[in-house]
Symmetry: C2
DNA sequence: CTGAAAGCGCTTACAG
DNA sequence: CTGAAAGCGCTTACAG
């Protein structure tokens, strides 16, 4: 019934309660004590507001106060646990601060990315979290121009404050586990990501660190940066298996999408993956339960998100700077059992 | 440099181009032809706007036009492919219409749900898609009161237009496949969801339809509605296996979260699931690759989303009404192979 | 203690 | 063809 045709405004409340718009505004914003407004008046106003079903128009308020209560996050896509986890922590932090969280994905497309960032900026988001942007410097400039505070997450921007995972350290640790678990004499192979890309390069470096420490040299043909499509990873695996009928026994998989490709391959060719051990720099509950030893490096989404909000909350003018968060080894009970068995089995 | 301290407004452009705010507005909105504005003037204005780095303040425009360009979607959470798929299609449809999509999750919590819906309403979203709400009637009333168009997705509202999956039909078909694939004499069991809940009840009915058609009666002890926590499903499976050392061979799993529980169980007790066949009313690429025959019923996210926008676009005053979308059987190549083998194996 | 008034940045009839 | 003016719904010094 109530708000069908016409929205209730503070003027309606003023009229109905025999006061003025100023008074209504003061009361409804809780600043009536500061302005020494009569408690009775305040009461009457709140009463009337409630009975009329008043709801403030945030758009109008924002126009006046220059705040929107909106905060934005831009992510590559929604289809994995890492981004989903980031989004959920971000939502929680936003709610804590009374902000309305907006999330938009780019599908890893530059044009889409620019267009969604422009939209968020035009919507006057108060700050922006950019997760693994395709074009960090470009959108950094857009934000700068709009005077909008922003953080880069997972991929550092040249000029923006950034929060990243310790990719090299994590990959090194993951590599060490892979070495420990792989059968002796195993071949090793790195799959996924994109050559020249920040995270991929660091993970390759960490992978190499681990192998080098064990006296194994990393050759170019042990690295297949086949991007983020599961099918591409699957194709690489098929090619590798075609050589000798079986996969290299020590597989380092760079992303959950590549892991998806591995999972499909495995389902079709279980025998080719007989003695394989997989290390994956990402996490997914189903992937963790594949029927072979799997070690996963899980990015610390809670800490990553918290670091972004710490920076945003501080409101310093600080440009640049970087916070690095350690990822965590994730081993399911089942895998722990398998890993333990595998360890005994190896000399 | 440019917009550092002060935003550029149409007044700045008017001054800089020697015109008026009205003209600037008309030009920038593309209605200059309609108003017969001199092409030269228009040119000059656009030029100036560009060089000043002008960006319209959508908040101010919205206050005037009573449009915000915002559309909202409320989902239970982000952690599975169904909701993620819905979100991605929704984003695409929103972009097509020049709208800025807002997505917020409730974590299946009533209070959170009400609070996020209130926030979206206060932000003046132009319409709202409510995915599997906890309290359909309550938030339906909130939207109604705010005069905001809305659709229920996946769970019908008593008074709202709704788009749902054909749960019973889908479950019946899934059940038929389960029967066809399970070894003869297999026991059947339904796991997951909540008793009394819309989708769960319909899926149980569909499951029963399939068994009944094969002359198998469904007893209460064949149904375990253990909710949406993977650990609960895992506990149920452990209990079932404890009885005879093995799982019922025909498992009907109601959600991907329950399937997660199954996946963990399987990793720990592969032998207990020896001859099992699993039918899951949900989809995930990793789950589809588990090392046993899996048939999944995948909800048609594209069609579900499209149906919501069709309704929203139509802008009829229609209350109520329901569109039902058929889900699709999803079988991976690996499972097709396994299923084929399984079929031959059974008498 | 409370009201009148200006102004946030736009759009859009209305004059001219 | 173009400008002056009103108004969207709020907030907040400023008077009184």
């Amino acid at each position: 019934m109530s708000g069908k045709k016409k929205r209730v405004t503070i003027y309606d409340i003023a009229k109905a309660s025999g006061t003025s718009a100023s008074t209504v505004s003061l009361v409804l914003n809780g600043s009536w004590e500061k302005y020494r407004i009569n408690a009775d008046t305040a009461d009457k106003v709140s009463q009337t507001a409630r009975s009329l079903g008043y709801r403030a128009n945030l758009r109008a308020r924002g126009l006046r106060t220059n705040r929107t209560g909106l905060i934005g996050m831009v992510i590559p896509h929604h289809r994995n646990r890492f981004f989903a986890g980031l989004v959920e922590h971000y939502e929680a932090e936003a709610h804590k601060r009374g902000l309305c969280p907006i999330v938009v994905s780019t599908q890893r497309n530059r044009e889409t990315e620019e267009s969604v960032v422009r939209t968020l900026l035009a919507q006057q988001v108060e700050s922006l979290i950019l997760v693994g942007p395709e074009n960090p410097d470009g959108i950094d400039a857009l934000c700068e121009e709009a005077g909008t505070r922003h953080v880069n997450l997972d991929l550092p921007g040249r000029n923006a404050f950034s929060v990243v995972t310790d990719n090299r350290g994590g990959a090194r640790e993951l590599g060490r586990h892979l070495l420990k678990l792989a059968p002796s004499g195993a071949e090793f192979h790195f799959i996924g990501g994109r050559q020249g890309e920040y995270a991929t390069d660091l993970r390759i470096a960490g992978f190499a660190d681990a192998l080098n420490a064990a006296g194994i040299a990393v050759r170019d043909d042990m690295i297949d940066c086949c991007g983020y499509h599961p099918e591409h990873a699957q194709a690489v695996l098929s090619r590798l298996a075609a050589r000798s009928g079986r996969l290299p026994a020590g597989l380092f998989i760079n992303s959950i999408t590549a892991m998806e490709g591995f999972s499909s391959f495995l389902a079709l060719n279980p025998e080719a993956a007989q003695d394989c051990v997989v290390a994956c720099f990402d996490w997914d509950p189903f992937a963790a339960c594949l029927p072979l030893p799997v070690v996963m490096m899980r990015q610390n989404v809670a800490a990553l998100t918290a670091a972004c909000f710490d920076y945003l909350d501080a409101k310093t003018g600080q440009k640049g700077g970087e916070v690095m968060i350690a990822p965590e080894l994730a081993v399911t009970p089942a895998n722990r059992r398998m890993l333990a068995a595998g360890k005994e089995g190896s000399p």
